[in-house]
């Protein structure tokens, strides 16, 4: 994602366009994917190949907030299991799914670089650390 000023050489690259698409729809709908291919004069499969490489470019709708709980070894050592269980219980969904109300999606992810406050999770771009099941309940409440 282009965060600073534009670089004419990189700003229109396919990955940036796919990210913008995701930012509009919350995911990459099929019509947008084929539309991008038509617009750029390339095959849809070449757009699909890029979208499927990146986990940050989902092909299915996600919730308003995406929760990523870290399952890597440093968080595992700090007892992330009860935390994962608490998130699942609170949301009523298992990892890889989106709740019926469309508010939350849940994912288990690899190291998010917050091992000094393990166990940790992210909600959208925000990081929450030193989690306990009680803390999970409190944090999720803020997003409801």
């Amino acid at each position: 994602m282009l965060a600073g000023r534009n670089d004419a050489r990189l700003e229109k690259n396919l990955l940036v366009l796919l990210e913008r698409t995701r930012d509009v729809y919350g995911y990459i709908p099929e019509h947008a994917l084929t539309g991008l291919a038509d617009q750029l004069g390339i095959r849809a499969v070449d757009v699909y190949a890029i979208a499927t490489f990146y986990r940050a470019l989902p092909l299915k709708p996600t919730g308003k907030h995406v929760i990523k709980v870290c399952r890597s070894v440093p968080c595992y050592l700090k007892h992330n299991r009860p935390v994962i269980d608490a998130v699942e219980r609170e949301l009523g969904i298992s990892p890889g799914h989106t709740g019926d109300d469309g508010l939350f999606s849940l994912e288990l992810v690899n190291c998010i670089g917050a091992c000094d406050k393990a166990p940790a999770m992210m909600i959208d771009d925000d990081v929450f650390g030193d989690l306990t099941p009680e803390k999970v309940t409190e944090i999720l409440g803020r997003y409801r």
Binding site: I50, S72, C111, D116
Partner: protein, 402 residues
């Protein structure tokens, strides 16, 4: 005290939101000394003489990388700051960028002067979106003060929030992703100093590597050489996690023992083993913790994960390989299939369903992957497995069905 603040000297001291607090600590003094005072060739010579090597784990001599980039023909050249920190247990670059974004920028500006680049990117891993705003603010403050307008060419720095996973920390995969393709590593050679971003000569350096540059430029190579060991000059920043009382970021002079870091600073007790370098790092059993941390012995990018005696080695290795199986980009078969097969085998052994020949299979798979994988991911993934088989063979045996 074994701790030595060189890279981290401003962390927690300056206000990362305010460039004036960095200037008050002598910030940008090194850049002013270099530009216009030192020719690019002299800067490169100084960095070469300092012995500075890449802090992202590779350990390639920084001065040499810059020299190759400077000498390669190209109508434009790039600097990339690799902040795609994805190694398991790694958080030192995040810490540095959160606490002192200005020194990274100064290091990039000196690097740009040395290689003749006019455009630079800070490539952040996608999970570091929470620090993108801070970095953009730092870049714009530095630009507004005109600190990047040296003699002749000025430098344009852009903060780029990446999309990719673990493999996008590999420098050529990072460039593929930056250019908008699948983040798969390129065949090398050509190496980035001759053909990097968009085919132009590119010097790509880790955050911590660049943090050393202003100090070297200001104090000279000799001062830097007086720190560390013969092949590992200066300091190293480590991020310690796992079974310790005080997880966190520590900077030590190169050559300090692992035991000092783990037991005296991070306050670990009852240590069974330490993994140095993240998921693909070496395993150091407790009785070998007097090893001195350096490129000559064991180092990596900085993650140090500590395991106490309650931990089951096979269970940990299964989880480690699960990580690689997921993060393998799938481009080359040895890595794509090898990580999967190793994960399944380790899972079976951890569950008590393993048989003796599984141990042999792990070794054979490890050797095949290390020899034939096309990038560091597949080449390094078996490292902890081989180490753990060597040091904790009896634990594997105990899991095996008779």
């Amino acid at each position: 005290m074994p701790q030595k603040s060189l890279v981290l000297r401003n962390c927690g001291v300056i206000d990362p939101q305010d460039v004036d607090s960095y200037l008050a600590r002598g910030g940008f003094g090194a850049l002013r000394r270099v530009q216009p005072g030192m020719t690019p060739a002299r800067v490169i010579e100084e960095v070469k003489r300092s012995g500075l090597r890449g802090r992202g784990g590779g350990g390639f001599p920084t001065g040499l990388k810059w020299e190759q980039t400077a000498r390669s023909p190209g109508e434009r050249k790039y600097i990339i700051c690799n902040a795609s920190e994805g190694e398991v247990g790694a958080f030192k670059d995040r810490y540095i960028l959160e606490k002192d974004p200005f020194m990274v920028i100064e290091g990039m500006a000196i690097a740009a002067h040395a290689v003749g680049a006019t455009k630079a990117y800070i490539y952040l891993r996608s999970e570091y979106g929470h620090i993108a705003g801070l970095l953009m603010n730092a870049v714009s403050q530095v630009e507004q003060k005109g600190l990047l307008d040296g003699c002749g060419q000025s430098l344009d720095i852009e903060v780029w929030l990446g999309t990719g996973g673990y493999v996008c920390g590999e420098e050529t995969a990072l460039m593929e992703s930056l250019e908008g393709r699948r983040g798969e590593p390129r065949a090398r050679p050509p190496f980035p100093p001759s053909q990097g971003l968009l085919g132009f000569p590119t010097a790509i350096n880790n955050v911590e590597t660049l943090m050393n540059v202003p100090w070297i430029a200001a104090n000279g190579a000799d001062g830097f050489c007086s720190l560390g060991t013969s092949q590992s000059r200066g300091t190293k920043v480590f991020s310690v996690s796992g079974d310790v009382e005080r997880p966190g970021v520590y900077e030590l002079e190169m050559g300090t023992s692992l035991r000092e870091l783990v037991e005296e600073l991070a306050l670990a007790g009852d240590v069974k083993m330490v993994q140095v370098g993240g998921a693909s790092g070496r395993i150091v059993p407790a009785d070998k913790m007097d090893v001195r941390l350096s490129y000559e012995t064991v180092l990596g990018a900085g993650p140090v994960i500590v395991f106490d005696r309650s931990r089951d080695v096979v269970d940990i290795m299964y989880r480690t390989m699960e990580f690689f199986a997921e993060e393998s980009c799938g481009k080359c078969a040895p890595c794509r299939e090898g990580t999967q097969a190793m994960m399944e085998t380790l899972g079976r052994i951890a569950d008590g369903r393993g048989v003796r020949k599984d141990l042999k299979a792990l070794e054979q798979l490890s050797n095949a992957m290390m020899l034939t994988s096309s990038c560091g991911l597949g080449q390094a993934a078996p490292v902890p497995i081989i180490d753990s088989l060597r040091y904790f063979g009896e634990e594997y045996d105990a899991h095996i069905r008779p």
